[in-house]
Homo-oligomer: 330 residues x 2
């Protein structure tokens, strides 16, 4: 049978362009014993993929090969006793409508427990990336001020809500008035700062954080992070989940070094690979699921229709087109 595939054609320079990807149709072989045929249902597009396209993030994508990201797929045909036709599974898989998998590494998911796309968001790597690093590296204490950048985004919106559950005062940085309303109304942040609406972001953050910033959950980097960190308190913890403002830079923007502030204020700046927390995923997913059912967290999704639109959905992440998790429905 045939499948559509999206391959990396060129390593993007600056903001990725549709021409950096190519849609091809290829033939799939028949199933061998132990294999299953998967049909993609939902495909996650995420800012971190940008680094793998340039090769700054290992392992990198190879030119002429399909992109890989987190997928939810339906088993169409199975020659593996652990999977039946109609099962839904999730894993890092190829940007293909159909693909053959061996079965190892696949997680079965239950469409009756939660809507399928939620397994790419709050009940997937997105939710885990918000929860576990915030808890472990942030060690939030009730009454502390947590600032979240990219606050209307997939991870940011969840990180902020978890901050609220843990008793923090939560301030979100967003890129539009609409998103500012969203994080306050829908996600229950105490305050929001629209960086596009501010001439003096440093002062705007100071005003939104009268007791300074104890924790910073950073998804964006760049001048926004500079302004937040200028307001940080002694012993501040900075969890660096993403740096979307830097991913498309062709020449790096320059800024004053953070190192003197790290000395003077005893800061911790912490990155992470979420896979390193994998032993705690089941427990963390249970907690996230419970909060979701209790209505303590909610989420936004931006669902784009059609396999062919994967590159555009991905590129849209850098234009802030998404509210919450950006997902392509096949």
């Amino acid at each position: 049978m045939k499948t559509k595939t999206i391959r990396l054609k060129n390593r993007p320079v600056g903001v990725p362009k549709p021409g950096d990807f190519e849609l091809v149709t290829q033939e799939l072989p028949g199933l061998s014993q132990g294999e299953i045929l998967l049909e993609a249902s939902y495909i996650s597009v995420d800012p971190y993929l940008r680094g793998k396209m340039s090769g700054t993030k290992e392992p990198r994508f190879e030119l002429g090969q399909p992109i890989t990201s987190k997928l939810i797929a339906r088993v169409v045909e199975s020659r593996n006793p652990h999977f039946r036709s109609g099962d839904y599974v999730s894993d890092y898989l190829l940007w293909q409508e159909f693909q053959i998998a061996g079965g190892s590494g696949l997680t079965k998911i239950d469409p009756h427990q939660a809507p399928l796309p939620a397994y790419l968001g709050v009940l997937g790597i997105t939710g885990l990336s918000a929860y576990l690093p915030l808890l472990d590296y942030g060690q939030p204490k009730p009454g502390e001020t947590l600032v979240v950048s990219g606050a209307a985004g997939a991870v940011g919106s969840i990180a902020g809500q978890i901050g609220k559950i843990l008793g923090c005062r939560v301030v979100g940085i967003v890129g539009s008035e609409e998103k500012a309303e969203l994080v306050k109304e829908k996600f229950g942040f105490d305050q929001a700062v629209n960086y596009r609406g501010s001439n003096d972001l440093n002062a705007a953050i100071a005003s939104a954080c009268p007791h300074g910033v104890d924790l910073y959950f950073d998804n964006v980097g760049g001048p926004i992070s500079e302004a937040v960190i200028a307001n940080i308190n002694p012993y501040g913890r900075i969890i660096v989940c993403g740096a979307i403002s830097n991913y498309n830079e062709t020449t790096p923007a320059l800024s004053p070094s953070l190192l003197p502030l790290v000395v003077y204020k005893f800061l911790r700046i912490q990155g992470f690979l979420i896979a390193d927390f994998s032993s705690r995923f089941p427990q963390a997913l249970n907690q996230l699921h419970e909060w979701l059912q209790q209505g303590k967290i909610t989420y936004s999704e931006t669902i784009v229709q059609g396999f062919e639109n994967l590159p555009n959905a991905f590129i849209g992440l850098f234009e802030g087109l998404n509210q919450g998790k950006m997902i392509v429905e096949i």
Copy 2:
């Protein structure tokens, strides 16, 4: 009786100048019950004092008030039953030849256990600042590469030797060929890079660290740190003890943000206040003393004579005039 005192006259702009300090003679009152009269023997001058002079590091020094740093002093007269004339004590005390203390907070030190100045260096805050953060935040593993900047300095020379004891490959960054020899010959570093002798520091560090940098113990900040961090491995730990290259900046130098690298390489950048480790000081000092007696660590001192030379000794730190701990002997 009268004492000489050195006060902060002006908040330094850029590199501190002798005129930022003033030497005055003042009258001391008589001792009240519970008080002791101290005569300064050795006074520690340290880069971190610079921040307290500008007020970037809290608590800051006030204009017209004496500078405070770590001192070793002899008890001249005592009206406190816990101290006798002739005892030696150590604490954060005033830059004065004589001063009156209440007795609380003073640590008695034994001149028979080690030379007195060592209690300002390897057996004091200097040794502790090298040992405890390296151990806790660095978590060095045998075979890992540790880079130390300011490697011929007080903390750096000890941090590197502890790295060797713990099984690391240790590379020091220094500012002269003489210091490069010193850290290799006297302190047993595996390699040294003289940043003043290199046109391409990034490449020089890469060549000295063929397996990359796993741990970076940073005393200097600035372009040296940029070059080290450019060579850091995934999961690299950066312990930021000092940023001497930035302390005298009037306008901060600009550099590419570290945050994208923190994301891509899962880095930790950690500052600290050594006082937060105080419950472990006794145990750590025992360990340092044992290593010293076993000849596993050694140290350098630069001892400047004369109370009046305190400002010059302090200023000399920023010119790299010291090898190891800079101390003024009164």
